[in-house]
Symmetry: C2
Subunit: 442 residues, 2 copies
Amino acid sequence: MVQPLKVGLAGLGTVGSAVVRLIDRHADELTDRCGRPIVVSAVSARSRGRDRGFDLSRFRWHDDPVAVANDPEIDVLVEVMGGEGGAAEAAVAAAIERGIPVVTANKALLARHGTRFARRADETGSSIGFEAAVAGGIPIVRTLREAIAGNAVSRVYGILNGTCNYILTRMEREGLDFAACLAEAQRLGYAEADPTFDVEGFDTAHKLALLTSLAFGTEVDAAAIHVEGISAITPADIEAADELGYRIKLLGVASRTEGGIEQRVHPTMVPKSSAIARVDGVLNAVAVDGDAVGEIVLVGPGAGGDATASSVLADLADVASGRRLSAFGRPAARLKPYQAARMKKHAGGYYLRFLVHDRPGAFAAIASHMAAHGISLESIVQRRRAPHEDAPGAATPADAQPIILITYETTESAVRAALEAIENEQTVIAGRPRMIRIEKLA
Amino acid sequence: MVQPLKVGLAGLGTVGSAVVRLIDRHADELTDRCGRPIVVSAVSARSRGRDRGFDLSRFRWHDDPVAVANDPEIDVLVEVMGGEGGAAEAAVAAAIERGIPVVTANKALLARHGTRFARRADETGSSIGFEAAVAGGIPIVRTLREAIAGNAVSRVYGILNGTCNYILTRMEREGLDFAACLAEAQRLGYAEADPTFDVEGFDTAHKLALLTSLAFGTEVDAAAIHVEGISAITPADIEAADELGYRIKLLGVASRTEGGIEQRVHPTMVPKSSAIARVDGVLNAVAVDGDAVGEIVLVGPGAGGDATASSVLADLADVASGRRLSAFGRPAARLKPYQAARMKKHAGGYYLRFLVHDRPGAFAAIASHMAAHGISLESIVQRRRAPHEDAPGAATPADAQPIILITYETTESAVRAALEAIENEQTVIAGRPRMIRIEKLA
């Protein structure tokens, strides 16, 4: 008689409930695949009474997720509570100490404690599967952990937050501003009541930190990430991008540079012809550039109970089948210290938008500051100002007209210095200049 | 002292040579990942003298690939010779009998012998990794084998042959005919001197047979696949598709139907807005529809030495790390017999193109045959005949004008019967009607 894999499930929200339903629905199939059944044995959740569409009485109930982790009957802990500390951290730590495998969808937790947990798991014989923590149902964790083993990765990047992508897609399609699209996303349940975590890029940063470790074999360092969100993006930027052959996406990008590994999250101009530009709405996508494989792109649903639970089940199938995988694709002791590239050294093209006073010499002043900082211009677009265009953060004189510059490859420090010099000339531009980085894509 | 994984490499063509170079280039990284080095130990190839850019003298040479498989020093056989029988079959069979793992890029071999080999490998303790056999560097085998374990798959489909996709992309972009684009593909090395295997869909069928088994847990049955190639596609079809909002791609599709599992390879009209429609040139793409995950799409290079070798290395890393995986995602004894859906029962929309004689009642005859077979029409397009449009296989009267019908969902048998009835009316159409199936995509 084969022993089933007994799951302790900490968290019965959208994802946890979907895990229970999927295990029920595909019980026979999972047994076929793994050679033994997967059964939920013990559970904990904030509310015991809530109707989740299934009967809780068949599971051992614990009020405390740590008690689930310590339940002697369970073989694996599934943590789908969320939160970068507190009970989630305690439950995961307890399971690791016991030496049983952990499967988690918690990016915030791993972005903060990933290296430490992975190291300890290697010592105790535990393991950490987190396919569900990055890009929902897209199998990017196992792709980086296993499929690109024979590659040196030069870059991994992606659309990792469906809320932001939905908002940007709506802004582009409907010509609406950020606030209107955010409100719509909230109405549809795609954005939280407090959307800061998503729209300011922090959720993307957590996921990127995990991808970076997997792709480059480095310790997790989310604190080193340069993070900008999408709340300052205007319809004028999106229109200008469109005219210039680009779309604006919130990307997380990790790339190998001479000065170390860059990790950055910011609104990004991507060529319309690129695969990533065509990923719309709540979809996620991740691209990996490897020296052997070239570029592979994975697209799919980045959130939602069932899609995320699908990734939890994939990790559970690994455990049930007896496949132990190192959390970050190699023993944690072999993870290299993360050497951050300085953002000021970032090299790339830039989109710059100014509202320029309509007086002699104004544009010449901008051009000369660019030249003084060694920045070459690929294109210059002077557009008639649309009615909705206002310079953020300043009263805008009626005479100010937008000018857009696209630079050739230059450095972040050159661009910042040029912008500062231009801003310091009081009579040249109204308001603050807009700067959006351009990502070079095939 | 950790023992290295010693590889026996049968085949030193484009892929085999790339495997050697990749293992050399990433030796330290592979050791980090797998906990032990991977080294090529013994080799065989057709020509010993050929310059491959590396020194063969460090490897044990065998004239016979079976001798490589039986070399007592090797821990794993990598078979990258090709061919559905002969020496490749013998070498793989020998390694399986010995109980050592096999890694192969050989779709033809597995399409024919996959079930038998997988069953025997389970008995002897061997294993079969074939990530490289389907869609080159795209990790679709491990996605289906592992990542979608918690899903019931309803459909898997993809662009699995870069040669065909290159030709179709060129035809679309340049308005050239099939023969001209094939010649160009041959000049660029994207097509073989004898292109039949690629352009008539057989290569796609071999790959599809493997995807079907992985996705549905069934025995491999390539013989059951309905196969049509792209050689009959004309610029007129591609133009008409474009006008109607479609692109034409050679797809391999396996889908679950009430009557069994459909496996079909044919030119397919896909909506321009679909992810698969935008996969151009020599790229491959595979999409998986699962009940939990929704649709995930993987895009990347489908061929080339390095991309294919990247997938070989991924499988070798599994072996070196001690991960034994069932070839088709479950023990071979659990593979269900493949129950073929009959192609006549295929349900879907159809594009039909006729050259209709310009005489009273001709179109009425077509319309009434459609109605008699219960086929409803979604659109009817009468176009002026372009100079290059000829009815294939018939002398075309100067008065014949093209008419295009797009049907609502109907069945293959209804369409075939209607076309036969129309063809039997001698004075209605010139030449043979064209029929291209439309795939319903999100």
